[in-house]
């Protein structure tokens, strides 16, 4: 078994910086033999989580930052993203697949994160999300 890969970065509220971190995390996962399908799901979930942190959490405030921590072993990737916003209650987010919400232009990010990761949990304050992805069988 190889050693765990670890990444800990702080980025400003800028989505292009978020994309760079995504690529770093995906490269580490690729190195650990995660499947293309795993990488697809994690990329999608990371995109949604980082945009949420920057846009909804930090409200695009250039004075606020997002901390991204990641630990990857041969079995799983654990990614923690924390913003400096006021947080939110995930149970307040309406179901985007309800008939009344189906044609709304936003509100699907959290659902996609949950669909593509093995688990997605928030801290009590709602400004930190922990996402876990177990490696799929080849």
């Amino acid at each position: 078994m190889s050693e765990a890969s670890h990444l800990d970065v702080v980025i400003p509220s800028d989505t292009s910086r978020g994309s760079e971190v995504q690529e770093q995390i995906l490269a580490l996962m690729e190195g650990k033999g995660f499947t293309d399908r795993d990488l697809f799901g994690v990329k999608l979930a990371l995109e949604e989580a980082i945009v949420n942190a920057i846009k909804h959490g930090n409200q695009l405030d250039p004075g606020k930052t997002v901390q991204i921590t990641c630990d990857i072993t041969d079995q799983r990737a654990i990614i923690i993203i924390e913003d400096q916003g006021e947080g939110f209650d995930p149970s307040d987010v309406p179901d985007p697949t309800d008939e009344e919400n189906l044609d709304k232009a936003s509100g699907r990010g959290l659902m996609l994160m949950r669909a593509f990761m093995t688990s997605v949990t928030h801290n009590e304050n709602g400004n930190r999300v922990r996402m876990e992805k177990e490696k799929s069988a080849e």
Partner: protein, 118 residues
Amino acid sequence: MAAGQRKLDIDQIGDVTVARFVDKKILDENNIQIIGNQLFGLVEEDGRKRIILDFTNVEYLSSAALGKLITMDKKVKAAGGKLRLCSIRPDIYEVFAITRLNKLFDIQDDQDAAMAGF
């Protein structure tokens, strides 16, 4: 100039406009904003009413991109037109299925199927 980047390849086949996404990734707020504006321009500036969006090149797409597609669908319908989506790879189709947007959009397997009876 980023705002001047062409994000759609346009083909006119009879009275049907086929718009093929150029990028592999429809991610990042700025990028999605530009793509949205180019999509909306097809209806609002060019007055096109029968539009097929071809996803052949698209490997990734985020919820913000889905939002633009929903707004596009509304604009086309408001103009009395029709919008179809085609050539969506299985990974991406799953994103539509999870969010039930496969029920909202008219999605066809490929461009020929999208052209048929349009």
